[in-house]
């Protein structure tokens, strides 16, 4: 485990791999995140639930270094994400699956993966691409243009893109969307494997059942703040659904 960053203050956990401290993010007049704090350990998968507009995607984009918070700080393995000079170092450690695939549709799947592998400085891009095509079950379709892929296949390829450099922090924004049941199960196995290998996984979902089954810990984001947090072993699906409903009623 790495050392915490310098001058982190009393709130900073000594062991957390990902540390988000009192994050605020505004879009115009609207506050998307309001004083959100979150820790994530290595080898842990955290499922983040919440309604549309709760700030889940914004949080992931902040942690991926695509956005900067208006207040607060975030660290990945002690690297401050706000510091411009440290961002490349942090980005080497982060893999991000977004709503949009970030794939070049007119290029083949192989060209896409090879391109990102080179951009991340992967040592043997061809071998890594072959491994990933096997993991996401796209062997035999590597040389098809991405525009000929179905929605689910594009999602699987986007996942391979996010994992191409074997990141230590995997951020997945609604990874189950567009996947068939078999691919969803396969993704669950992949997430478990990532966590077993010591990766920190943070994913958002609207599917309470799938999310709960694949996470070590769950959190509910509501109105830009962390409204609920629990370990999986403390919860059943019914309990989680009740908590979610009661939060919705309270807000209504």
């Amino acid at each position: 485990m790495s050392a915490p960053p310098d001058g982190t203050g009393p709130l900073m956990s000594q062991t957390a791999f990902v540390q988000a401290l009192d994050l605020d993010f505004s879009f115009g007049q609207r506050r998307i995140l309001q004083g959100l704090s979150l820790n994530l350990q290595r080898g842990e998968a955290l499922a983040l639930f919440g309604p549309n507009g709760a700030g889940k995607t914004t949080l992931l984009r902040l942690l991926a270094t695509l956005l900067q918070p208006s207040k607060g700080e975030a660290f990945v393995d002690g690297i401050p994400l706000a510091r411009r000079s440290e961002r490349a170092k942090a980005r080497r450690r982060i893999g991000f699956l977004s709503h949009q695939s970030m794939l070049y549709e007119r290029l083949t799947a192989r060209d896409n993966l090879r391109f990102y592998a080179r951009m991340y400085g992967v040592e043997d891009p061809e071998r890594r691409c072959a491994e990933l095509f096997e993991q996401v079950e796209l062997e035999g379709r590597e040389d098809d243009p991405v525009e000929e892929y179905s929605r689910g296949m594009q999602q699987r390829l986007a996942l391979a893109r996010a994992l191409v450099h074997d990141p230590d922090l995997v951020l997945l924004d609604e990874p189950f969307s567009g996947l068939d049941p078999r691919a969803t199960l396969r993704l669950g196995t992949l997430l478990a494997d990532l966590a077993r290998r010591g990766k920190a996984v943070l994913f958002t979902s609207h599917d309470l059942e799938a999310g709960l089954s694949m996470a070590h810990r769950v959190a509910i984001l509501w109105g830009g703040t962390l409204a609920y947090e629990a370990r999986r072993e403390e919860l059943t699906l019914d309990m989680l659904a009740r908590v979610y409903s009661s939060l919705a009623e309270r807000v209504a």
């Binding site: 949009q100 695939s101 970030m102 794939l103 070049y104 007119r106 290029l107 391109f115 951009m119």
Partner: protein, 227 residues
Amino acid sequence: MRVRSATLTICGKDLRQELRTRESFTSTFFFSLLVQIVFSFSFDFQKLGLGFEDVGAGILWITLTFSAILSLQNSFLIERERNCLAGLALCPCDPSAVFLGKFLANSLFVLAVQVLILPLSSLFFGYDLLRVLPGLCLVVTVNAVGFSALGTLFAAISVRTRRSELLLPLLLLPAATPVVIWGVKATRLCLSGRPLDSYGYLVALSACFGVIFTVAGVLLFDFVMEE
């Protein structure tokens, strides 16, 4: 990742994509061809008592400027699809490599179209291309590269806006006026058969313009890429 290898990787990706689809090339080439055809039918040089050297520079630069805008626009529109721009921003390379990669690909692309257009213009307007070829190549290359440097930076700035197709020419054309004017003047002198000495200072000015905007792109691209 080293800037040079990231630059070449991005440039290679853009060229591969263009070779696969030929989207930019087709529109740019046929636009350029159309401009040449229209002008060749519009002017009766003999009747007007003009030679190609009198109006040719204008015709060539109208073609070059607008065909370059078409390709510059496309180079960032392909990054906007599926939010590939964010994919590039997430890569752990220096952001200047993204600028340099796109700039290199754009410059090569603009020059490739000119390589085809110049012989065609010689056919349409009946001037001796071989006589002016070295000078013309120098002028076109230096000015096209300078124009691409500025255009790449502005295309990246405008791509996140809703009306990027409209915004890019609005931003680019006024700012690129000096390099276009120097290009037109140098081309006219070159087509008139003057030696390089007579228009060398114009080429040097255009080269300075290109260097300034390349350096600006390298320094500013980190901020341009930010959401």
